[in-house]
């Protein structure tokens, strides 16, 4: 993907750029808000990564300017501000996701991938499919190989999130935020527990494991290797 990174800390910027490039993306790096705004308005990007604290200029102001210029590219905000209201403020300013520094590189990569929009023209899907697993969003029903699988509401939500990010890594934090709505880190690994229950239920319908654990990153639902 083509990414724009706006980060004033040169060392951090270089580090993130290298990691993203190694993950297969093309990265344009801007060191201040003005350059970032100019690039954002003139080039098409798949995802923009914007540091909230920029010299002389509030990252949110840049974000609002970008949105005001009708640039609809998804934006991931990076910030040292982890306050309760800061996230809401960032999202209200037009951001799509919010990551508090310091973060694990795997977290950033997973979130960037999650933000990439599906190609335009694809209608709102009512049925998600991965291999022989099928989820009907309208009927709230899951089948595998034609055989119906009974899921608890939360398990359904978890599977839905995995399936709508099929082929991409989702981190524990992303799951906590999007499936449970927890914007904090519980000490207990509830994600792992629920994931293993979901796995056993999916395994009832015979077939290879579709949910893969990606060490150091999170989980990925994809076609079997």
């Amino acid at each position: 993907m083509k990414l724009l990174l706006v980060e004033d800390d040169k060392q951090a910027g270089a580090y993130v750029k290298r990691a993203l490039s190694e993950a297969g993306h093309t990265v344009d790096l801007a060191f201040d808000g003005r350059d970032g705004l100019m690039l954002a308005a003139s080039e098409p990007y798949d995802v923009m990564i914007l540091d909230r604290m920029l010299p002389g200029v509030d990252g949110l102001a840049i974000l609002r300017a970008i949105r005001a210029a009708s640039v609809k590219t998804p934006v991931l905000l990076l910030t040292a501000l982890g306050g309760i209201d800061d996230r809401v403020e960032g999202l209200e300013a037009g951001g799509d996701d919010y990551l508090v520094k310091p973060f694990a590189m795997a977290e950033l990569i997973a979130r960037v991938n999650a933000l990439a929009r599906r190609p335009a023209g694809q209608a709102q899907q009512t049925v998600l499919r991965v291999a022989d697993l099928e989820m009907n969003l309208l009927k709230r029903a899951v089948t595998r190989g034609g055989r119906r699988i009974d899921l608890q509401p939360r398990e359904f939500q978890l599977l839905e999130y995995l399936m709508s990010h099929a082929g991409r890594v989702v981190t524990r934090t992303m799951l906590l935020e999007n499936v449970w709505g927890f914007h904090f880190d519980p000490r207990t690994n509830i994600v792992e527990t629920h994931m293993s229950r979901l796995r056993s239920k999916l395994a009832q319908a015979k077939g290879p494991d579709l949910i893969h654990t990606v060490r150091g990153a999170g989980y990925c639902l994809r076609e079997p290797d």
Binding site: G82, I84, D85, G181
Partner: protein
């Protein structure tokens, strides 16, 4: 001295009243003079008319007689009758050559004095002239009296104003100086000082009261801030030191741990430190209180259901039970995210301390108009002596010092509860521990 606003005000009022006295005096003087003057002249005219009538009925002799008679009467006016050639015929005024109509004459009174006499001269038939008049000092006596009195009043007002103003401003200045001194002491660093309240319930006292409440708030914020930096300084030092030692040990030539393992361990340590740091900051943010503005009606039963459902599988896996007992719905005014985090902390604490085989119950109910959220386990419980200290930041039960966790869990619970106006109690669940959070009734119920 003239910078005192109360003195300026007093001076202004004094000036206004003094001017009022002057104006009042002037108008009274003028009006009185006019009235007296009119009365004075009316009397003279009446006398003149009377004597003219006398002339018409009794002739010259009658007038002469009348004038003589009046001359003898004390308290009467002055009269004069002049003949056709200007000769003085009768009366004290007869020698004065006054023109017809009104005029003022200066007549000798005794050896050295002259006095002013207001005279009206009218013609009698046959060339005779009648003069009737009176000494002007009779109408002027009141003038002097009025002037004297108003003069005194003016002086009195000015003196009272000056004295009163001075006295008043000294009283006000004393209070303001006291307030200023307290404020200076506070600026210099003594945050516990408060501005003196005199108990007069006036606007200065109200101001002092409001400022004192502002100072209370500032002091509590400073305290909170100091606490956070104390916590960070003292309690993050330990894990940071541990981390440093781990890295240092790995650098040594005979190091046992391989580099990858060391780095992974170090990352883990760092993450734990960052989590502690984040928790400390969150508690400080909650304590700042600003969050209260975004409160919404929140159903505690829904919050509880989410948490129990999220943690029940993990509990089961460790051989424990986690269940929910909730009436539907139980509303509070609050922040759903913070309430969720609070309940998660309580549930995790219960699961951790109760141990395997224990049962924990989350109960949501209504009591006395307010919501009650309780988490009770049937584990070993907490001895009474340690229950109070559980809320101190970083305090860990001796028994659980070896289990992971920063000890901030209950401190956060206390913070969130405080923000919601709820109170938290720890009771013996016999066996086990019950943590009860009692919320105030929802406003507007």
């Amino acid at each position: 001295m003239f910078r005192s606003s109360s003195l300026r005000l007093a001076a202004l009022y004094t000036a206004v009243f003094a001017v009022a006295v002057v104006l009042l005096g002037a108008t009274t003087l003028y009006a009185t003079r006019q009235a007296l003057s009119a009365q004075f002249e009316a009397r003279i005219r009446t006398e003149t008319a009377g004597l003219e009538q006398e002339y018409r009925t009794e002739g010259l002799d009658g007038v002469l007689e009348a004038v003589h008679e009046r001359d003898e009467t004390p308290g009467a006016l002055e009269y004069g009758l002049r003949g056709p050639g200007g000769g003085a015929l009768a009366g004290r005024l007869a020698s004065a050559d006054a023109p017809l109509g009104w005029s003022t004459l200066q007549l000798p009174d005794g050896a050295e004095h002259r006095e002013a006499v207001r005279v009206y001269a009218s013609p009698l038939g046959g060339g005779y002239r009648l003069l009737v008049g009176d000494e002007t000092e009779h109408s002027e006596a009141l003038d002097t009296l009025l002037l004297q009195h108003f003069g005194l009043a003016f002086l009195g007002v000015v003196l009272l104003g000056v004295a009163g103003g001075y006295g008043l401003s000294r009283g006000v200045n004393r209070r303001l100086t006291a307030m200023n001194n307290a404020a200076e002491a506070i600026i210099d660093g003594d945050l516990s000082r408060r501005i003196p309240v005199r108990g007069a319930s006036d606007d200065l006292d109200r101001l002092a009261g409001t400022l004192n409440r502002m100072l209370d708030r500032i002091e509590s914020l400073m305290h909170s801030l100091r606490q956070v930096s104390d916590d960070i300084a003292h309690d993050l030092r330990t894990p940071l030191t541990r981390l440093r030692q781990r890295l240092e040990a790995a650098l040594e030539p005979g190091a046992r741990e391989d580099v990858s393992a060391t780095l992974e361990g170090a990352l883990g340590d760092l993450d734990a430190i960052l989590a502690t740091f984040a928790a400390l900051l969150r508690i400080a943010q909650i304590d700042r209180g600003g969050r209260r503005a975004g409160f919404q009606p929140t159903d505690l039963a829904v919050v509880a259901r989410t948490v129990v459902e999220a943690f029940a599988p993990s509990a089961e896996e460790s051989g424990a039970a986690l269940n929910l007992a909730a009436d539907d719905p139980v509303m509070v005014d609050g922040d759903a995210e913070l309430l969720t985090q609070m309940l998660v902390n309580l549930v995790e604490n219960a699961l951790r301390h109760a141990g395997p085989g224990a049962a924990t119950v989350v109960r949501v109910s209504q009591a006395d108009g307010g919501a009650v959220l309780s988490v009770a386990d049937n584990g070993p419980g907490v001895p009474k002596a340690e229950r109070e200290r559980l809320f101190d930041r970083f305090y860990r039960l001796e028994a659980s010092r070896s289990t992971p966790g920063s000890g901030l869990g209950l401190a956060l619970v206390a913070s969130v509860a405080r923000l919601h106006g709820a109170d938290v109690t720890l009771d013996d669940a016999a066996p086990g521990l019950e943590v009860r959070v009692r919320f105030p009734p929802v406003v507007g119920d």
